[in-house]
Amino acid sequence: MAWHKHFPPDCPPEDSYPPEGIAYRFVKNDPPAEEDFIDHRRKFPDRHFNDECIACGLSVYTEWEDVLIARQMVPGMNRKKIAMGPVEIEQTVIKNTPSDTLRSHHTWWLSEEVKVHECFEITEIWE
């Protein structure tokens, strides 16, 4: 796979795996646009990140419940739209990177060619 050139060596991590199922991502645009799927390393090219590999991945949740909790706890996330789509996309890998609060947080690494925003659509928010 042709990973983005800014990915550090050994990134994505060895224990990442081909994704399956669906995932949710907080986005600004309806329909989701490419800018909604830009990793932090590209978004903030001059910022220092302790974990470069995580900065090259995208956050997604695989559980709807976690999406709702995140919205309730973080006002910035509450202001975003929620896009839902399949993560089972070739040339991508994923890894479960949970916190104690939200167990379904995953980091998703995309290869250079893939345009995942086209596979995602805005979903209604049902609480």
Partner: protein
């Protein structure tokens, strides 16, 4: 969860990340501290044209632990900051340094805060003891709840241990007493509670100290923006009952002003002390600096107060006192209406014949002290319970010295 550098925030000091609660492309809800040891709770508010907007609220380690473990909800942590203020931080998308503004908690926009009642529920790491704080009051402000500390002596001995059965009874009766007093304060004469949800006077035991056996109890719910709560109101009343300054008539008046059930519960609490030879030193503080109390209950004082309560119960078995304006009398239906401005409640019901005979003496629109008897009847055919409020006595309030007449 990854290591992550919080943005450079020069005015707030060098920030070091402590714990990420929500990570989404970067930490969105997290705790951190600066190089001067000040802890912050931080949350992402929005993405504006200028950059990402964050709230950083200075927080003590103890309060942060309460937030982590869900004993303080996230919104309260930001909206009622310990120091009164939070910092609104805008981190630019480019090279500009972060913009930082101090903002008062009360001025925060509702949409910039976590949703009401939402809590983290993480396992406890460590909680410092209150002894690390200057005063118990400071501690109450940190956790924004009432705190009551009870030092117990069993059979005149300072023991580092407590008999389970007695302790269990004591805690249970204390909770009952606070619930009942709370209900009496916040209910209408028809027994309906005033917008106070169930469990609003609940207490929780958080700690015991073994030197001389001491309990630390806090209110289960946080106080309002002014630092007041139903628990505060109930403790204020309880402490005034305990510290009635040796004038039995004052205690009787106070008990009459509450519902009879409160007197029964308070008597039960006192009996525990008198019958078991237990002494207690109670200290209560609330986040509101003006609300606090200190009291000592000994077996002897408990016995004396039980006698006063029993005498009051003989005098007025199910009666409570209301000070208010007589706003209506219906001679034909023998009904009355009294409005208490203090309580902002209207009391109404039947006038007892003993008062009715003298009804001409009273003037509508004037202030009186009314003694109202609560009588509950059960209608046998339907099984429905009905409570009546009978006006048993009506008298003019005593004139104060400022009116130029000696108080009787």
């Amino acid at each position: 969860m990854p290591n992550w550098n919080p943005p450079e925030l020069i005015e707030l000091g060098k920030i070091e990340l402590i714990e990420i609660f929500i990570f989404y492309d970067e930490p969105r809800l997290f705790s951190c501290k600066n190089n001067w040891g000040q802890y912050f709770l931080s949350v992402w508010v929005e993405e504006s044209d200028e950059g990402d907007v964050w709230l950083y609220v200075p927080i003590s380690k103890v309060r942060l632990e309460y937030v982590r473990t869900g004993q303080i909800d996230l919104r309260t942590a930001f909206q009622i900051p310990e120091k009164g203020y939070a910092f609104k931080v805008i981190t630019s998308f480019g090279f500009e340094p972060a913009k930082i503004d101090k903002i008062q908690g009360v001025d925060l926009n509702e949409d910039d805060l976590p949703k009401e009642g939402v809590t983290l529920n993480l396992p406890n790491i460590e909680v410092e003891t209150v002894t690390t704080y200057d005063t118990l009051h400071e501690y109450a402000q940190k956790i924004w709840r009432d705190i009551i500390r009870i030092k117990l002596r069993f059979n005149e001995q300072n023991l580092p241990e407590a008999p389970i059965d007695l302790l269990g009874d004591l805690l249970s009766v204390l909770q009952d007493t606070i619930n009942t007093i709370g209900k009496a304060i916040f209910s209408t004469p028809r027994g309906r509670e005033y917008a106070q949800p169930l469990g609003w006077t609940d207490l929780v035991l958080v700690k015991t100290y073994s030197g001389s056996f001491e309990l630390e109890i806090i209110s289960a719910n946080i106080s309002d923006l002014a630092g007041d709560s139903p628990v505060s109101a109930a403790f204020e009343k309880l402490f005034s009952l305990i510290n009635y300054e040796d004038d039995p008539s004052i205690l009787q008046q106070m008990l009459i002003s509450l519902k009879s059930r409160s007197a029964l519960k308070y008597k039960k609490l006192l009996k525990l002390f008198s019958e078991t030879g237990t002494e207690a030193e109670l200290q209560w503080v609330s986040p509101n600096i003006e609300k606090k109390g200190h009291a000592i209950i000994t077996p002897k004082s408990a016995n004396r107060d039980i006698e006063v309560i029993e005498a009051a119960q003989e005098l007025y078995p199910n009666t409570f006192m209301v000070v208010g304006k007589l706003i209506g009398v219906n001679i034909r239906l023998r009904n009355y209406e009294i409005y208490s401005e203090d309580e902002q409640k209207k009391y109404s019901g039947t006038i007892d014949l003993s008062v009715f005979d003298e009804i001409n003496k009273f003037t509508v629109g004037e202030l009186y002290i009314g003694f109202i008897e609560e009588v509950t009847e059960k209608i046998i055919s339907t099984g429905v319970q009905r409570t009546k409020y009978i006006l048993k006595e009506l008298k003019k309030p005593p004139l104060s010295k400022s009116d130029g007449v000696e108080t009787p």
